[in-house]
């Protein structure tokens, strides 16, 4: 990939195990993510991909293992703490604020960066207003970037699916995350929408220098855009490496195509 420089390790996941009752969703998973990298997590359905993202994002607390983000070992963390630390995410099944406009949805992404208090906002003090304008400017930049200018004021619930996915990405980008987790950003899209989304993901990585971890089912997409790939199957890691390495790994081929017993 072009002028992008892959940097130091930004996220290290070490020996993570997560179970729900008797179901072992993740078993001793370790991998790392380097700065500015696009890292894909692939695997058959139920392999534990979303669970893995949920662990990084603080939705689930793993029973075992250690997560190091930007050189700091994390203790217990909920999604709000993760967001505050610079981890943004999008959702597999959309979780947008449907009744609110595109603009308002994306402005909520700026929430963490707003410094003025409730009271000064309530009485509409000058500095609270200026702050709002500054954030608005940033969000407009992202709206331009994602080419959704025309839908600014539209309630998100009325937009077609492909555009909603874009708003979801936009809301996460508004947080200016250092690490962006994308849970199947292209699921359910037609070819054209997929190509658009691919372009946005690559441009995000390029322009904002955001490190990206994404889950995707479309092998073509994964092999095209990611730098390195982790392969999960039944909660275990069965492959890790560049797209080419993963493609030629016997374990991965077996998991996807099945093995003769």
């Amino acid at each position: 990939m072009s002028g992008r420089k892959i940097g130091e390790e930004i996220l290290d996941v070490a020996d993570i195990s997560l179970s729900f009752g008797g179901v072992k969703a993740l078993q001793n998973i370790s991998f790392n993510v380097r700065e500015h990298e696009i890292r894909a997590i692939i695997g058959p359905n139920g392999a534990g991909k979303s669970s893995m993202l949920n662990v990084v994002n603080g939705v689930y607390a793993p029973q075992q293992g250690r997560i190091t983000f930007q050189g700091k070992v994390r203790g217990h963390m909920d999604p709000h703490d993760a967001a505050a630390a610079g981890i943004g995410r999008t959702f597999q099944s959309l979780a947008l604020f449907k009744g609110m406009s595109v603009l308002d949805n994306m402005m909520t992404g700026r929430n963490l960066r707003m410094r003025t208090g409730v009271l000064s906002q309530a009485i509409h003090l000058g500095f609270a207003r200026r702050e709002e304008l500054r954030h608005r400017e940033f969000v407009e930049h992202i709206i331009d970037f994602l080419e959704i200018q025309a839908y600014r004021k539209t309630a998100v619930g009325r937009l077609p699916y492909g555009l909603q996915k874009r708003v979801d990405l936009g809301r996460a980008l508004a947080m200016e995350p250092k690490l962006l987790l994308l849970d199947e950003p292209m699921a359910g899209m037609n070819l054209e929408e997929k190509e658009d989304m691919c372009r946005f993901v690559l441009d995000t990585n390029d322009e904002f220098g955001t490190t990206i971890v994404l889950i995707e089912h479309d092998m073509g997409v994964v092999m095209d855009i990611s730098d390195r790939v982790v392969v999960l199957d039944y909660g275990k890691k069965i492959g890790d490496g560049t797209p080419d390495e993963v493609r030629s790994s016997q374990a991965v081929i077996d998991a996807y195509l099945g093995v003769a017993h």
Partner: protein, 338 residues
């Protein structure tokens, strides 16, 4: 509204027309003197304002957290009790500020002990939790502040004033206190509407209402938002409690007023601040008119023992609204993509 729109919404239009006709009929048919008619109208509007205030508390919490807060009535009682008992020892203004602080602490405690543990649970679970809060508050309020009837003296003149004597024969009798109450309510509503629509915190509140989990993952602190919204609802409860309490005295029956606010939110829509206001006014005026004008006719026609329409009119109206427009007059219609 376009013609096609009108055609689609004809049941709502018909209902509104029926209400307007019902409201105008007594005057048009010469059933009452204009002076008396307007007195009843004003009386209805005044009690409507009070219903609105309680309904507003419901709407605020529902909007911001998707919780139907059954405890709103108990909060009104608790706030009024605090204010009444505190004002025995200090000037009303100071007592009011202390009561605001008490409601803020209460909001914090409710978040800490109840809501925090129920994040992402079903709406029914949260409803049950607020039911628990209701009983606790009813009991705790009386334990802490006593269970007699207390008064709140706002210092406003309670004597009725005669206005418009030149226009109608006999003029109209109104209460200064009622007018002040209406003005306070109007101001409160305006401020809240602006707060929700125009401030970043208001936006965050709406975001939390829409989707807890998504709001959390973009870094909106759920716990702080909930404390803020319960505090605001507590403040509204305090204003409502003060107005009701100074009119009727502070007593246990205050908490039952919440039951009257229920039809109001059904009418106005659970998510609409203006809806709570207009719904309150419609119910307030509607039940007074029903009692004063419709009651005697029904008693005569059907040879009933007595009227008492005032007590059930609101619920019947709410029921009709549920049939023709379940989301209420101003509520958000859910758009689901299938």
């Amino acid at each position: 509204m376009t013609l096609a729109n009108l055609q689609r919404n004809w049941p709502v239009v018909a209902l509104i027309v029926a209400l307007l006709v019902g409201a105008a009929a007594p005057l048009a048919l010469g059933m009452s003197a204009p002076g008396f008619y307007f007195e009843v109208l004003l009386g209805g509007l005044m009690s409507g304002v009070l219903y609105s205030l309680v309904a507003l508390g419901f709407v605020l919490i529902f909007k911001a957290s998707g919780v139907f807060n059954f405890a709103q009535g108990a909060m009104v009682l608790f706030a009024a009790l605090s204010l009444a008992r505190l004002s025995e020892h200090m000037p009303l203004a100071v007592a009011f500020i202390c009561a605001v602080a008490i409601m803020a602490v209460l909001a914090w405690v409710i978040e800490r002990l109840v809501l925090r543990h129920l994040v992402n649970q079903d709406a029914v679970v949260l409803l049950m939790a607020t039911l628990g809060v209701t009983y606790f508050l009813d009991g705790f309020g009386q334990l802490a502040w006593g269970s007699d009837i207390y008064t709140i003296n706002t210092g406003l003149p309670k004597t009725p004033v005669m206005v418009l004597e030149r226009v109608f024969e006999g003029g109209i009798l109104i209460n200064t206190e009622d007018f002040v109450a209406a003005a306070v309510a109007a101001l409160l509503v305006l401020a809240l509407a602006l707060f929700f629509q125009k401030t970043p915190t208001g936006r965050a509140l709406r975001a939390v209402a829409d989707d807890h989990q998504a709001a959390q993952s973009i870094g909106i602190p759920l716990s702080r938002i909930w404390v803020i919204v319960w505090t605001v609802a507590g403040f509204v409860a305090l204003v409502a409690g003060m107005v009701w309490g100074s009119k009727l005295g502070v007593q246990f029956s205050l908490s039952l007023i919440a039951m009257k606010a229920l039809p109001v939110v059904i009418l106005g829509g659970f998510t609409s601040v203006p809806g709570a206001i207009i719904g309150g006014l419609i119910i307030g005026v509607g039940e007074k008119f029903a009692e004063v004008f419709l009651g005697p006719i029904m008693v005569k026609q059907f040879d009933l023992a007595g009227g008492g329409i005032e007590n059930w009119f609101a619920y019947v109206l709410a029921l009709v609204f549920l049939l023709v427009r379940p989301e209420g007059l101003f509520g958000e219609k859910h758009i689901d993509r299938v």
